[in-house]
């Protein structure tokens, strides 16, 4: 029982309660907001964010101020690569997945190498990489035919697959289960937490610190690549800069989920709840009819308010 309780940690409960409250609020403000179909559609959007946040999550867990600001760039890149590889044909989906994962993994590898071999702080390394990726997007767009999503991919993302739930939500659930297993039940997972909470001690206990950190950045790149692929399915066509809007929200989702930006503490289940929470909040704000300036002020203040529930650090005086 106590194991069960410690597994379902506090922030997740809090996030779930808040999700219900927000849905209720949304329904009050604009009837129809919390209808079944709409909730599914919100979950699709949340899956996109949540998949990116999975990568962000492991990088943050790995410590040494881990953070990946380049996810937005990788998402955009992957959407463009996928669109061009599949170009509207279902037969192109598998090659597209391979190409996206390879690209995401490659840029993750570069991030990881910079962070470990050259010891560049992740914030700096990935911010720089974001700039490079944005430049690359412009370059590879020269003369390349634009891509269309394959119909099967679009169906996977937007149409029900089983039990009335779209494939992407199933995918997200599967990722959630795999992440929980990886973090709690594999040596790799334990090593992520180890390097996140005391890198030097982990090193002295034979943990391949660099290798793992590189792997984390590669994972982040690959999750972003998967999200980019799904985003292509969501929007049908690829376009430059699709990923930009996900950079900071992916971090916020992780924080909302109770993972500490200092590393070594937290998990993915909370992040999933955090992603849902964030998406619901954003949609409520789009549906209420006030000026954009008002929306932004409400959004900023609500973010702060919500962070008060979990994002808080420890008091210096124990």
């Amino acid at each position: 029982m106590s194991r069960f309780l410690s597994f379902i940690r506090q922030p997740i409960i809090a996030a779930l309660v808040l999700i219900v409250l927000l849905l209720y609020l949304g329904q009050m403000l604009s009837p129809g907001f919390a209808s079944g179909g709409q909730i599914l559609r919100l979950l699709i959007v949340a899956s996109l964010l949540g998949i990116i946040a999975a990568g962000q999550n492991v990088v943050i867990l790995g410590g040494r101020e881990g953070i990946d600001l380049s996810v937005g760039g990788v998402v955009s890149l992957s959407a463009i690569i996928a669109g061009n590889v599949m170009n509207g044909a279902d037969s192109g989906i598998l090659p597209a997945i391979a190409a996206c994962l390879a690209a995401g993994g490659f840029f993750g590898l570069l991030n990881g190498l910079g962070v470990t071999l050259l010891r560049i702080p992740p914030l700096v390394m990935t911010l720089g990489m974001l700039g490079v990726l944005q430049g690359l997007l412009v370059v590879i767009r020269m003369g390349i035919p634009s891509g269309q999503a394959a119909p099967a991919l679009s169906r996977f993302v937007t149409q029900p697959l089983a039990f009335g739930i779209p494939g992407i939500i199933w995918l997200w659930i599967a990722i959630g289960v795999l992440m929980a297993l990886m973090l709690n039940r594999t040596v790799f997972g334990h090593r992520i937490y180890a390097i996140g909470s005391n890198e030097h001690a982990a090193y002295m206990a034979g943990v391949p610190v660099r290798l793992i950190r590189i792997a984390l950045f590669m994972l982040s790149g690959m999750f972003a690549a998967i999200a980019g692929l799904c985003l292509l399915g969501y929007s049908g066509t690829s376009f430059a800069n699709v990923g930009e809007q996900y950079m900071l929200p992916s971090i916020i989702a992780v924080v909302f989920g109770g993972t500490s930006l200092a590393g070594g503490k937290g998990g993915y289940t909370g992040t999933m709840a955090g992603a849902v929470l964030l998406v619901i909040l954003q949609s409520i704000l789009t549906t209420i009819n006030i000026d954009e300036s008002g929306r932004q002020m409400v959004f900023g203040a609500t973010l702060l308010l919500l962070m008060m529930f979990y994002g808080r650090g420890r008091a210096m005086r124990a």
Partner: protein, 317 residues
């Protein structure tokens, strides 16, 4: 005759901008046939406002004859344009108007752009119905002008009710999400005014909700959307902000550098320095024609138009 023209673009986040630069370069090449050597020098990268001011400074240092800029801010360039003018450089803004009295604007009237779409929608809806608007970046001048444009039109149609206006930052995916949310809370809307860059996304949500026959919405000028439009027989109409505006601006610039004078000086617009270009409009009547122009082009390619050298010459005395 040799002219050196600097092109500055401060944001590279969309294909439209790339096409804009490409068309401008192509326009410069055309002048060769006329025996005029137009050398373009391009600065195009993501920069902040100081970064784009630095673009202009670099051009001044390089000693160009004219600068054409797609500005990151409408007002931030007044002092630097003054310096450029002092240095004898012709400054033309395109795509977004600038407040500087030392520059002229050559491009479309964004207010009219917004109005044209709204007018099409109002007519399509027969002057009554519930409408939502999906706008670009709040506070961005082009967005605010477009908003003013459609508001003005709807004011003339008292039976059209704008039930909500949301911002989706000219991002296709955000437009799609915004449309989803809107459809959930206003299931009975009849029309959508959505700016290009987001219209494809909004339409995707409309189609996903199975409402493509109940709702009329403005559209995109990208090839992939126009193809979809024809295929799905969408009830759409798209005002065109052609990426060719910079090419038009370049042609005007060369003629001005040759010492020609405009028949009607650029005096339009809120800043009194604008030379407005015609705004093409695509609706179900001429969408096939638009598709023909775009045949063989990549999906991100936009329907475009620009002043040819001859058309530009016609504006001058």
């Amino acid at each position: 005759e040799t002219f050196k023209i600097g092109l500055s673009n401060g944001w590279v986040g969309s294909e439209w901008r790339t096409q804009m630069i490409d068309e401008a370069k192509a326009a410069a090449a055309k002048w060769k046939e006329k025996g005029v050597d137009v050398e373009v020098s391009v600065q195009s990268a993501n920069v902040d406002v100081p970064g784009q001011i630095a673009h202009i400074r670099n051009f001044i240092a390089e000693g160009v004859n004219a600068i054409i800029v797609n500005p990151n801010s409408p007002t931030a360039f007044d002092p630097i344009f003054a310096q450029a003018k002092e240095a004898g450089i012709l400054v033309i803004a395109t795509d977004a108007e600038v407040s500087s009295p030392d520059a002229i604007y050559v491009g479309i009237d964004q207010t009219a752009w917004g109005a044209a779409g709204a007018k099409w929608l109002a007519e399509t809806l027969g002057g009554k119905g519930k409408v939502v608007a999906i706008n670009g970046v709040a506070g961005h001048p082009a967005n605010e002008m477009r908003v003013a444009g459609y508001r003005g039109v709807f004011k003339e149609h008292p039976d059209i009710q704008v039930v909500n206006e949301v911002n989706a930052n000219w991002d296709q995916a955000q437009g799609q999400q915004a449309m989803q949310n809107v459809l959930a809370t206003y299931p009975d809307i009849n029309g959508v005014v959505v700016q290009d860059g987001m219209a494809a996304g909004a339409w995707k949500s409309i189609m996903d909700a199975g409402k493509k026959d109940q709702i009329a919405a403005t559209g995109e000028i990208r090839k992939d959307f126009i193809d979809l439009w024809i295929k799905e027989k969408l009830n759409s109409g798209a005002t065109v902000n052609p990426p060719g505006v910079m090419a038009s601006a370049l042609n005007v610039a060369v003629l001005m550098l040759q010492g020609k004078e405009l028949k009607e000086p650029a005096k339009a617009g809120q800043y009194g320095n604008a030379l407005y270009l015609p705004i093409p409009f695509i609706d179900s009547k001429n969408v096939e024609e638009a598709a023909k122009q775009l045949e063989g082009k990549p999906g991100y390619y936009s329907y475009t138009s620009s002043l040819s050298i001859e058309e530009a010459e016609a504006l001058f005395k």
